[in-house]
Amino acid sequence: MGIFSGNFSRIIAPLLCGLIFGTGLLVSGMVQPTKVLGFLDIFGAWDPSLAVVMAAALAVATPGFVLARRRARPVLAGQYFWPGKSEIDAPLVLGAGLFGVGWGLVGLCPGPALESLATLSPGVIVFVVAMAGGMLLHDKWQASRPAIRDAEPMARVADG
């Protein structure tokens, strides 16, 4: 495997993917909360750009994932980590609902928030620290519920 093992799969490939993802967010304007809120504000001066971003992303990702599934394993790794869960349960609906409220309050979701750290904006830094706090709070709370602790912690990490 040579250069295809080790550092290439662990560092270089994910770094390249992060660069491409970040470029997509920057070019599309989705790093700007005003742009995102313009889409969510359907009762104001509506800006459909975010819908075009999603449609274009799906136009590439949907056939791309079909192609990926045809391979027994990824090019640089031993196995795929496809998300395992498929049911619509209460945590999914409640979690997505809470996320939407936070997203609507400031117009930042995790990708643009992390990318915006590059601007060293104090507001973004506070948002990311609070976001990390919310995640750790959730994981601590989950760990304190022994009944489901062993059932799915890693599945959740892989979920998205």
Binding site: D41, P48, L92, G95, L105
Partner: protein
């Protein structure tokens, strides 16, 4: 629709989709940012290197763009710090409980035709639209 930018939105969206496909095809991982970031924070997680590398790539983009003359303007955020903190907590807790965010559910999940992700995307879109409607129009922004 004065602010509609369909061309840059389509180009940017295609790049996001390409990144998600490449990450899966090359490393077998889902490009869900909340999951990648949470796994980096998790002390029990042993596969931190690729997560750090991906997020470093995200943060490097505006830095490199700045070097070549396309610097990113700092995001416009609410003046109220309590709103920023509350929103961050909700986004962090909510994406963990719901197992994903705009990228993990909205792009990768729907791209895999997952009913679970389609449901999550509808729910967070609806609550976000309601939140914006209430804060901008009911409370007068």
């Amino acid at each position: 629709m004065a602010n509609f930018t369909p061309v840059s939105a389509a180009i940017g969206g295609a790049l996001i989709g390409l990144s998600a496909v490449l990450l899966m095809l090359l490393t077998g991982r889902i490009a869900g940012i909340s999951g990648i970031f949470a796994g980096m924070l998790n002390v029990r997680s042993e596969d931190k290197a690729w997560r750090v590398a991906f997020i470093a790539g995200l943060i490097l983009v505006p830095v490199i763009a700045g070097w070549i003359g396309y610097g990113m303007a700092p995001p416009t955020l609410p003046a109220n710090w309590a709103v920023i903190v509350a929103a961050g907590l909700l986004v962090g807790f909510g994406t963990r409980l719901g197992g994903g965010c705009t990228s993990g559910h909205g792009i990768c999940g729907i791209g895999r035709l997952s009913i679970r992700s389609i449901a999550a995307t509808i729910v967070f879109m609806v609550t976000a639209v309601i939140t914006v409607a209430v804060t901008r129009h009911l409370l007068g922004g």
